[in-house]
């Protein structure tokens, strides 16, 4: 019991001080019906570090880790190189084992970091204010819809068909209970997003329009027209971004009129982790909306000696003060992931982020060109950042993905998995390319795809 410092002698002395005969005297308030007579059955007893490490390594070995093999999965989670110093820093005990900084005098490390993080996110998104993080992109998306209904006092949200289907599903799930009305759609398989179709769905009852940028098919397009259309009807434009690296190459959502920008921050500093923990980013363009924001905010102030310092602020929005009137029920968020993001972003800086984005785009263009040469494969997109949609002749993309995995190639995400049952989308394969992709990886994917598509067509 290597994590338990009390010795039996300690325990006896402490029981004596308390005036209890045995440890069970301290559990007298547990009703008899619920008292257990020993360790819970059917579970193993304690084990050495070595034995546990072996067990967990055996489980890890059953997974096909991305490193060293052709890997093209994206659709909301991206594999980027994370500098070694990021992990070093987040393992500093003072960061790792600290609590939420409610005692600012001894939490300036976390607080200053969050202040810097908020600044980085706000600038990346072209917004005025960002919060100190939420759970992930999808829950941030729902929080944005909820905030829009609070701000506009309207209850209808129009979701773009090209919003990540998991994100729409989260919004729909939550809205079922809150009574909000969600208008959503499936993506149309076409080279350009249907902006006119989307704006035509905005009406006077609309609280917000939610669009993804780049969208689920990897397309990028100007959002200004949507912003104008939304604002005209008194609705807010919510923009979702799942690949922050893209914003090193393309215009910021805030600059195109987005009112709330949310996204997944995982690409910067966090790693794939099979889906979590990730990092929800949340920012607003107009500072007047700050008091409707969910989540923690860190602000600058001074201490009793006049030194600059940082504190959590505007907490009257939050559940621990406002209880049922809070802007969100969020308490724990993604502090350590925010740190990882901020450290990685600091290493990148303006220059590095732009170079990283350029490198991603360059390689994605290269991959798109190569894959377009494969007989039976068409690239759908005109424009994209580092992810695009392939249309495969004759064979459901889902099968192709599985067949590729059998050959050790993680070839992409099939739209069939994301949209089960939607016939029009079954042939579509999402392919993401990052700086970690090699020319050899692209070649392998092309070759393997060629074989599989040919096989299907024959």
């Amino acid at each position: 019991m290597r994590y338990l410092p009390l010795t039996d002698t300690d325990r006896s002395e402490m029981l004596a001080r308390i005036g209890a005969d045995s440890i069970d005297d301290l559990f007298v308030d547990v009703p008899e019906i619920a008292r257990l007579d020993g360790p819970i059955r059917d579970l193993p007893m304690h084990a050495s570090e070595m034995a546990v490490e072996r067990h967990m390594k055996a489980l890890a070995a059953k997974n096909l880790a991305a490193e060293g093999r052709p890997f093209f999965l994206g659709a909301g989670a991206y594999r980027h190189h994370i500098p070694a110093s990021v992990d070093h820093i987040i393992q500093r005990g003072e960061f790792l084992t600290a609590y939420t900084p409610y005692q600012p005098e001894i939490a300036q490390g976390t607080l200053q970091m969050l202040f810097e993080f908020q600044t980085q996110v706000a600038r990346l998104y072209g917004c005025a204010v960002a919060n100190a993080s939420l759970y992930d992109g999808s829950t941030a998306c729902w929080e944005a819809v909820a905030m829009a209904t609070r701000v506009t006092k309207k209850k209808r949200a129009v979701l773009s068909g090209a919003l990540h289907p998991h994100y729409s599903e989260v919004v729909r799930t939550m809205a079922k209970f809150t009574g909000d009305i969600i208008a959503d759609a499936r993506p149309a398989i076409q080279a350009e997003p249907d902006i006119a179709g989307l704006t035509s769905r905005i009406d006077e009852d609309t609280a917000c329009v939610v669009v993804q940028y780049p969208d689920i098919l990897g397309r990028v397009s100007d959002l200004s027209a949507i912003a104008d259309a939304a604002h005209e009807k008194g609705a807010l434009l919510v923009v979702v971004n799942t690949e922050p690296v893209a914003l090193g190459a393309i215009r910021a959502p805030g600059d195109m009129g987005a009112d709330i920008v949310v996204g997944e921050g995982q690409s910067i500093g966090v790693g794939l982790n099979f889906g979590g923990p990730y990092l929800g980013l949340f920012a607003v363009r107009d500072p007047k909306h700050v008091r409707q924001m969910p989540g923690r905010l860190c602000g600058e102030t001074t201490d009793a000696e006049g030194k600059r310092g940082f504190v959590l602020t505007l907490s009257t929005r939050e559940q621990h003060i406002r209880r049922e009137k809070a802007t969100s029920n969020i308490c724990t968020n993604s502090g350590l992931c925010a740190l990882a993001f901020s450290v990685h972003m600091t290493l990148l800086g303006e220059k590095g982020l732009r170079e990283l984005a350029a490198e991603n785009h360059r390689l994605a263009c290269k991959a798109a060109d190569r894959l377009a040469q494969v007989p039976g494969v068409t690239v759908l997109n005109n424009a994209f950042f580092n992810e695009f949609t392939l249309m495969l002749d004759g064979r459901p993309a889902r099968d192709v993905v599985r067949a590729l995995a059998d050959r050790g190639v993680l070839g992409g995400v099939s739209l069939g998995r994301l949209y089960p049952g939607v016939e029009a989308l079954q042939q579509a394969l999402l392919v993401a390319v990052t700086e970690t992709t090699t020319d050899a990886d692209i070649e392998t994917l092309a070759t393997e795809l060629e074989a599989l598509v040919k096989e299907a067509v024959q």
Binding site: R2, Y3, L4, L6, M14, R17, I18, G19, A20, V28, L36, I40, D42, E49, A51, M56, K57, A58, L59, F71, R92, E94, F95, Y99, T100, P101, Q103, E105, Q108, T110, M113, V129, Y135, T139, A146, H166, Y167, V170, M174, S221, D222, L272, N273, G276, T302, K307, T313, H320, R323, G335, L336, A338, E350, A358, H361, R362, A383, R417, L418, G421
Partner: protein
Amino acid sequence: LEEPLLFEIGHSDVTGVDLPEVDAGALTRLGGLERSEPIGLVGLTEPETVRHYTRLSRQNYGIDLGFFPLGSCTMKHNPRLNEKVARLPGFADIHPLAPQQSVQGALEVIDQLGNWLCKLTGMPAVAMSPKAGAHGELCGILAIRAAHEARGDAREVVLVPESAHGTNPATAAFANYRVEDIPATPEGRVDLEALKARLGPDVAGVMITNPNTCGLFEKDFREIADAVHEAGGYVYCDGANFNAIVGKVRPGDLGVDAMHINLHKTFSTPHGGGGPGSGPVVFSEALAPFAPLPFVRAEEDGSFTLVEEEEREESRGESFGRMTAFHGQMGMFTRALTYMLSHGADGLKQVAEDAVLNANYILRCMEDVLHAPFAESGPCMHEALFGDRQFENGLSTLDLAKGLIDEGYHPMTVYFPLVVHGAMLVEPTETESKAAIDEFITAFRSLAERARAGDESLKKAPYYAPRRRLDETAAARKPRLNWTEE
């Protein structure tokens, strides 16, 4: 060592990565959306970055540095094996949408961890995807709403004790319920009779924390549960304090319908300065069908399936849907499972016993110098509650808390629960040694005596921290939420 802000030392043309120079000509297919304006970011080289954050870290207090008795937060040691395991490429470098055949080990981790949670709580089902405690509460409340709706029963009220965490009422409100308070008895527990009296066809359920936030076990929990069930409601148990009873009591034996478990509390995944957490929810048979997607199903051939929307109909037709994009906090799952396997069933029982022993020891060593409102209500569980009623000269809980900083400790939780004046909630956890606790008691007693004696110098504490008291009012009045050039 003072550390300037990143934006005061960084430069837009400095970077700590070596990437190819931007070839503007390569940005060919961005649909005309090339970013022309500066983003406004700054960079540091690696040496500067490591130093910036190392210096910042030293202005923080963490468990690694000393005792951290934050009540209800369960600041226990974070084993380093857990950190190592979570970083294995087989767990850290796999994609949430990878073909299931390629991530069988990951699905098995989720299955094994779920199995542990079900056995430890005595509950038949578990939802693994909630991202933190409050998200878990939402998961539980949504399942309750879904269950009522499934039988066309549109109940509107959720009952919550006054002493509850703020997340409870906030969650219920977020799920569009009206929140009503449950009164407490003078001994600090839920008033069973008052509760029974309030039950009725409009009450969807109750949310009760057990052990409660006064640090007491709710003796009448089983009777409460029976009464709620009889009235057609469901019982949500806030599992934030499961640390006190893990391996000793199974909530399922007390009539719980849903309970979230904070892996970052009871099962030692690190708090990280504010997250990430992980809040799996265990369910009773009654609520299990409504649990969210996706979930892991163990197949008879030993393989594992991640059940997503596609199989919704066949597998869990009544699921209330998806709460988050992917399938939960894998990085926390691997850590928590590692922790459970390390302790085993016997070790986890000892965890609860030592946590409770430590808390009672503090309670009994302090009650003569500090107001302990529920000291006569029986043993406390994993935390001891005190109040500031006996302080003089306008000294308050806040002053004692800041005084603790000067003694080298993190303060306890203050002004919570709301039911006690100037509440001080002290949770030692099981990973503190007797020596560490004895030292703390010495310091804590001395501060309590100073506060009772009205020692005004406490009003300006801390004196020896990186910062003196910070002006939170000014921060809120004119918020400065990011850096701008003066």
